[in-house]
């Protein structure tokens, strides 16, 4: 089943319809956000306290939104599965946050950040959202600095910048290799200020199990208290999902262990469209897998490619030798060779595929030949070890803890790993999903990164959505809603609550032989193998056949010890894996249907000299999947992408 949100234009690509499908105003692109804000509905300060806003997730998007809405006077309830809001996985982001400040006087501008993000996303992101993102990027830095985020500074006391992949300017603000941590502490501090003020109530160790939709509108959630096991309802006037990405469908990823798709998947099953799930980002520089017991992969920040050079031996027979014994002329600095103008700072999808290509060619290094070198010898010679330590000290230390190797003395070994997911719930220009009242922020939505996200753009998007966009757009929805229409004990809530309880009972009653982790691992291997860095029609068809079988086995053979009314980590994980087993099918289906290559979605059948070959004529749309009650037959809604300012072109970093 396919429907189109608006007419697929005759002159496509590069046509523009009269009514933008994202609901943004029909004005020239640079004026859209200003116009939209100016014509947005407002709620008067005295009335704001009558509205209850539910925020799920406390990462950059969630904390920023909860704090900002509370400052405006709304009542906010914020939920997170961690034991403290400050532990959400935004904390682990390392390298930096982009902003078009042009402090370096190197030719940056809002336009350039916007254009590079669209190009970086391989012309599969929505132009209006990206233009707005670039515009508010500068405000984010102001806000964070005022909150006390200790960004790196020059000796004169002003802010420092560095460069990231897919760009030729230095626009990235950073705090050593802990930028995400420092930004989240800023947002968490803002949240604490509002908790102290009494207008945010925080619910840590509380997991959303379902969305409650009443008369077509999202009006609350059902949650489980992870300590007592109590399942309860929280009614609100709007629901904001800020629950991150679905990278853990691959089992091994750089995500935290608890990251999951449950909130967005449950919302999907209640009617929200899931857009572009096949756009997953495989990050080129992660520490390689060392064994079957491995529970997660660790990222080595992209910022390292400012000073590190990627190489493999030119000859297969050199792969087993110590790196230092391989002379310069026998090394293949493959990124510099293939992409001379961007070199080691080629975008992530391209750098990952290049690494895979070298390893597939038998020239990988380390265990199993699944690794490439990231070498700092030149930079250390040029700048000295102290300078490198100041820039990346914590990353080198982390590398040593995990591998036992000193990267000041020998090159790092790295390999691509799942890191970020560009797909997510479909949202309009207000960041509202197709279910009225349900707003989706940060990594959980689909809108800004197209088929590939550029480095240092995730933090920018999370904070843009939370601090500046949703606080301006939410009143567009709320103004038409009578506040407090539903209570926690309304019958609509009780029914969803009971269904959540029944599901917990069902999981606990299977009492089979296989652990939750064994299912998760098998699912992850299947998805990585068939829907990872390179995908084929045949492989995806195999995955689509296997997934329902695996799901069936889960529900007949999983073993979840303990009970539902205690702190039960196996039960938590079982619920998440059950949802990943369903979601994985949509991921593979989207990849199967998208018969082109773009960004992180590489279909082996569609390539040109090893590079992704897009098909704009047939596929320049957002695939927004609708749940029909049958996992095997979701309905595809297409939002054709419209570009006013940029024009489709072949993405080149050569």
């Amino acid at each position: 089943m396919i429907s189109e949100l608006h007419d697929a234009p005759a002159t496509h690509p590069n046509r523009v319809s009269d009514t933008p499908p994202d609901g943004s105003p029909k004005v020239p692109l640079p004026e859209k956000w200003t116009k939209h804000k100016a014509s947005a509905k407002l709620i008067s300060p005295a009335n704001r306290r009558k509205y209850n806003i539910i925020v799920v997730g406390s990462g950059l998007a969630g904390s920023a939104a909860a704090a900002s809405l509370s400052e405006q006077g709304y009542n906010v309830k914020c939920f997170c599965y961690q034991d403290s809001a400050r532990r959400a996985h935004s904390i682990a982001a390392q390298g930096g946050i982009n902003a078009a400040k042009n402090y370096q006087n190197d030719g940056d501008s809002t336009y350039r950040l916007f254009y590079e993000t669209i190009k970086g996303g391989d012309f599969r992101a929505r132009e209006s959202n990206v233009r707005r993102l670039a515009e508010v990027s500068v405000q984010i830095i102001d806000q964070c600095v005022a909150q006390g985020v200790p960004f790196a500074r020059e000796y004169g006391g002003l802010l420092a910048n560095r460069s990231f992949g897919g760009t030729q300017v230095a626009r990235t603000f950073y705090a050593a290799g802990q930028t995400g941590q420092q930004l989240l502490l800023g947002a968490y501090a803002a949240l604490n200020k509002e908790i102290a003020h009494g207008s945010v109530k925080m619910y840590p160790r509380t997991e959303m199990l379902d969305l409650v939709v009443v008369d077509g509108h999202a009006k609350g959630i059902v949650v489980r208290d992870m300590v007592t096991g109590k399942i309860s309802s929280h009614a609100g006037d709007a629901v904001l999902l800020c629950t991150g990405g679905y990278g853990n469908v691959f089992y091994l990823s750089t995500n935290a262990m608890g990251c999951n798709v449950t909130a967005t998947w449950r919302a999907h099953k209640r009617g929200a469209w899931f857009a572009n799930p096949c756009y997953t980002q495989i990050h080129p520089t992660c520490i390689p897998v060392s064994g079957d017991y491995q529970s997660k992969l660790t990222l080595m920040s992209e910022s390292l490619r400012n000073d590190g050079r990627c190489w493999v031996p030119k000859r297969k027979e050199d792969c087993g030798k110590p790196a230092a014994s391989i002379p310069e002329e026998d090394r293949d600095y493959y990124l510099e060779r293939k992409y001379p103008s961007f070199g080691n700072l080629a975008p992530r999808d391209i750098a990952s595929r290049a690494a895979k290509e070298q390893c597939d060619d038998g020239r990988g290094v380390g265990p199993g030949g699944l690794g490439v070198y990231l070498d700092f010898a030149d930079a250390i010679k040029r700048l000295g070890e102290d300078q490198i330590r100041e820039r990346y000290g914590n990353l080198f230390a982390m590398y040593e803890q995990i591998t036992g190797e000193n990267a000041y003395k020998q090159p790092m070994r790295i390999y691509p790993a799942v890191h970020y997911t560009m797909g997510g719930l479909w949202v309009d220009y207000n960041l509202m999903s197709n279910v009225p009242g349900l707003h989706v922020l940060g990594e959980a939505n689909f809108s800004d990164h197209g088929a590939n996200r550029l480095g240092a753009s995730a933090l920018m998007q999370g904070l843009a959505d939370g601090y500046f966009i949703v606080p301006a757009t939410l009143p567009n929805y709320l103004a038409d809603q009578k506040p407090g229409q539903y209570q926690d004990d309304s019958p609509e809530f009780k029914a969803v609550e009971e269904a959540a309880r029944e599901r917990v009972r069902k999981i606990l009653s299977v009492n089979g032989k296989r652990s939750v982790a064994s299912f998760h691992r098998e699912l992850g291997l299947l998805i990585w193998d068939k829907c990872g860095m390179a995908r084929t029609k045949e492989g995806l068809a195999q995955a689509l056949k296997r997934l329902p079988e695996l799901r069936e086995e889960f529900w007949s053979n999983v073993r979840v010890p303990g009970s539902g009314d205690t702190f039960n980590q196996q039960l938590e994980q079982a619920g998440r894996v059950a949802d990943f087993l369903e979601f994985g099918e949509l991921l593979c289906r989207d990849a199967y249907e998208r018969e082109e290559s773009c960004g992180g979605h590489f279909r082996s059948e569609h390539q040109m000299e090893g590079e992704a070959k897009r098909d704009d004529e047939r596929f320049s749309y957002v695939a927004a999947w609708e749940y029909t009650g049958d996992l095997a037959k979701p309905k595809l809604n297409k939002e054709w992408l419209e570009y006013e300012e940029v024009h489709f072109s072949t993405r080149s970093y050569k």
Partner: protein, 258 residues
């Protein structure tokens, strides 16, 4: 794929406790054929899989990012919060730091202010409540001045950053014989008080957070600095001296009413 150069056989004595008021006890488990490249938490995963396979209930422990930054993992390992290696969290501790045949004692972070949730997981929400008592700069979204309009001398920015590296794990409390949260509070106060943006509220911050620490049931600091020795982010105990100074000055001003 497997590249475990060697593996370890270990005996684990693990603290088991079903809830905050339930009695606890050590249980002994054999951990066999643990790859030395596995992390400590991956070793716990392997042991838990074995417990599940035998029909038992796995050991509960807090963890999330497993890369040393979220601060969720805890555990006292052989008497040391986060184990024997300096400057790392439990999740970053790898089994190559142990030898085959070792007996390992694994306990929760113990403190009155950190009630046990289950087994090795404890409730550290007292830390959140301390930060709600002043661990922020009052700035509304949208009201911030241009970022470069307030230069921050690099030494101040660096001192702030070094303090802000605190991950709020609570190892400092677990290591302290008085279960004092002084290093944590000192780091949180210093993060803001070292910056010009944080100065307007420096006094109320120091007073508010120290008093909240006392209210939450943490003990007093007697300057032994076990906290510094076990801190996975190697936060400098010098910040404690600075907090004492900030608190003293603020308290004196409060008394004389300025």
């Amino acid at each position: 794929m497997a590249d475990s150069k060697s593996s370890l056989d270990l005996t684990l004595n693990v603290w088991r406790q079903t809830g905050p008021d339930a009695p606890g006890r050590f249980e002994t488990y054999a951990a066999k054929a643990i790859p030395e490249t596995a992390s400590f938490l991956e070793m716990m995963d392997i042991v838990n899989e074995d417990i599940i396979a035998k029909g038992g209930e796995p050991v509960a422990f807090d963890h999330d990012c497993r890369e040393g930054i979220c601060g969720m993992c805890s555990m006292v390992i052989n008497g040391m919060p986060h184990g024997p290696k300096r400057g790392v969290t439990t999740c970053q501790l790898h089994m190559r730091s142990f030898r085959s045949g070792d007996t390992i004692w694994i306990e929760p972070f113990r403190a009155t202010a950190f009630p046990i949730v289950r087994d090795l997981a404890v409730d550290r929400s007292a830390f959140d409540r301390i930060q709600q008592a002043g661990g922020y700069i009052t700035v509304r979204t949208g009201s911030a001045p241009e970022a470069n309009s307030v230069p921050v001398p690099k030494p101040d920015a660096d001192a702030s950053f070094m303090a802000a590296a605190c991950i709020g794990c609570g190892a400092c409390v677990a290591a302290c014989k008085n279960a004092s949260a002084m290093l944590f509070v000192a780091a949180k106060v210093a993060h803001f008080n070292h910056l010009p943006q944080g100065r307007p509220e420096a006094d109320s911050r120091a007073l508010g957070m120290v008093r909240a620490m006392d209210e939450q049931g943490f003990g007093n600091c007697t300057n032994q600095y076990e906290c510094e020795a076990v801190c996975p982010k190697t936060i400098d105990a010098e910040y404690i001296r600075q907090l004492n100074r900030d608190y003293r000055n603020a308290a004196a001003k409060e008394v004389v009413g300025i």
